[in-house]
């Protein structure tokens, strides 16, 4: 029982980060129909900036806002340089563009920084645990969950109560009609990328803390988790993305504890297979409604 609870918290801790990543992916997809394979770079880039910062005497209190700002700026920059030029293209084209961007960034860091792993010191409270009713719970998990709840609440407020959020939702629902209402297409797209960057930035803070290092290919895993989680929930559904993130986190942890020892390493593989199966039987994701074909 206690192990189950422990796993639950662990899973929620991971799932929180995945939820943030997934939400970032879903926001961009909802507006532009673009599955952003470069989303993980919003963790890689801040990662290297963090390494530089620590080498120049910064500490975690100052680094955290730095990470978020860098993530937002990177997101906007990538939109400006690459995605704005393929707006309205076929999904194929935009997908490959994001793939290309991912590659340029990771190859760029490989080229201009180094292939080697750059270590990043963890905060002192990172490894601490706290005893709650017979369980040993990692403070890190609690912090992650708490922060994620706050961020999700804030994002919900943004989307539900501000005009910007309204415009975003309208554009995701029906881009053309939103423009008919006066919503500026450039503004809403950039706003979506900024929001996506902000969410990725928060996720980046925790990801970097947990990994304790950065490499040129650091972005692949987070991107994958974000994309997969968003897919599980049904692309375009923001609620689904968050749900997908938590499902993914829990599935990872629970699978690892249930699978017989020999195959535990294949947990990620199992998750993939499950997702592929999900896609076969419910191509629209968990929260989807079957689409009618337009003639």
């Amino acid at each position: 029982m206690s192990e189950l609870l422990q796993n639950l918290i662990d899973g929620l801790g991971r799932g929180s980060i995945y939820a943030l990543l997934a939400l970032g992916v879903a926001v961009v997809f909802g507006i532009m129909h673009l599955l952003n394979f470069a989303h993980g770079e919003l963790i890689t880039i801040p990662g290297y900036v963090t390494f530089w910062a620590f080498n120049n005497g910064w500490n975690w209190w100052s680094v955290i806002p730095l990470i978020v700002v860098v993530s937002i700026l990177s997101s906007l920059l990538i939109e400006r340089i690459a995605f704005s030029r393929v707006r309205g293209s076929k999904d194929f084209t935009m997908l490959l563009t994001s793939f290309g961007v991912h590659f340029i960034v990771s190859a760029g860091f490989l080229l201009y920084v180094s292939a080697s792993v750059k270590p990043i010191p963890r905060p002192d409270w990172f490894a601490k645990t706290v005893a709650v009713g017979g369980l040993r719970i990692e403070i890190f998990d609690l912090v992650v969950i708490a922060v994620t709840i706050v961020v999700l609440a804030g994002t919900t407020w943004l989307l539900q109560r501000t005009m910007f959020g309204l415009a975003l939702r309208a554009a995701a629902d029906d881009f053309d009609t939103a423009r008919l209402m006066g919503v500026n297409s450039n503004s809403v797209i950039r706003g979506a990328f900024a929001l996506s960057g902000f969410l990725a930035g928060i996720a980046a803070v925790f990801w970097i803390m947990r990994e304790g290092q950065v490499t040129p290919t650091a972005g692949i895993n987070p991107m994958l988790q974000g994309v997969l989680a968003a897919l599980i929930g049904g692309l375009g559904s923001l609620r689904g993305a968050v749900l997908g993130g938590f499902v993914l986190g829990l599935a990872e942890v629970l699978l690892r504890s249930w699978l017989p020892l020999g195959i535990q390493n294949l947990t990620t593989g199992f998750v993939f297979v499950m997702i592929a199966l999900l896609f076969i039987f419910r191509p629209g994701g968990l929260l989807s409604v079957p689409q009618v074909e337009r003639v």
Binding site: A167, R169, T177, L180
Partner: protein, 233 residues
């Protein structure tokens, strides 16, 4: 107020427009009728900036708005109530209206929201309901109210009575009448030609992408060959 001249639009495979001309003066209710596939929706879409124009000119209050982005045309004072209404079904009635007023400042918006609630009582009842749950008639009212939120100088409506039961069709035309008494300028595309001609000051008949007849509402109504102009005999 609105001047369309020589408009030609090729829009995929759906009705092209051939050299269409149209004029609307301030305060008028103008109808655009014709058989389906005639190009009426294409014409509205071209004016509103949704459909790229091949040749011709569209001027609004003296300014050239041909091929401007839809959001700019809305800010110039032209609002479109699209065919099939296209309300944001996951957003509430209030949110739909708010988005309609996205170009206004907050206090103006608040005033306008009140006005719309007064003008369309049924919306006030469903204020917090998700728009996707509304009936056809309610949705139509919402769509029109939403367009009014931008304080447009000219409102264009694309087939407002489409899919509505007769009582609701009455409602729609009453609405057009009310708006007219408020001094608004309205361009309406309608399938229900006879009712449109009764309600309009002037009207144009569009067939196969061309304007084949025009005149005042009563003039066109009196024509014995109205059906023929529709079918092209």
């Amino acid at each position: 107020m609105l001047e369309v001249s020589g408009l030609t639009t090729k829009y995929g495979a759906i009705s092209a427009l051939r050299d269409a001309d149209l004029t609307i003066r301030e305060g008028e209710v103008v109808g655009l009728i014709g058989p389906n596939g005639a190009g009426k929706t294409t014409l509205l879409g071209s004016i509103a900036g949704l459909i790229p124009v091949d040749s011709g000119k569209i001027t609004f209050s003296g300014a050239d708005i041909t091929s401007l982005a839809p959001e700019k045309i809305l800010r110039a004072g032209l609002a479109l109530v699209p065919e099939h209404r296209r309300i944001f079904s996951d957003m509430t009635v209030e949110e739909n209206l708010k988005i309609g007023g996205v170009t206004r400042n907050a206090s103006e918006r608040a005033t306008l929201l009140e006005e719309m609630a007064d003008l369309f009582p049924v919306l006030r009842d469903k204020w917090e309901t998700a728009a996707g749950y509304m009936s056809g008639g309610e949705a139509q009212q919402l769509a029109i109210a939403r367009a009014l939120m931008s304080k447009p100088k000219l409102i264009m409506m694309d087939e407002p009575s489409l899919g509505l039961a007769p009582i609701l069709v009455d409602l729609v035309f009453d609405l057009i009448d009310t708006l007219r008494t408020q001094g608004r300028t309205i361009l309406v595309v309608e399938q229900n030609a006879t009712r449109m001609l009764r309600a309009a000051d002037r009207a144009y008949v569009l067939r196969s992408g061309e304007v084949v007849a025009s005149g005042t509402g009563s003039e066109l109504l009196e024509r014995s060959d109205l059906f023929d102009t529709f079918v092209g005999r």
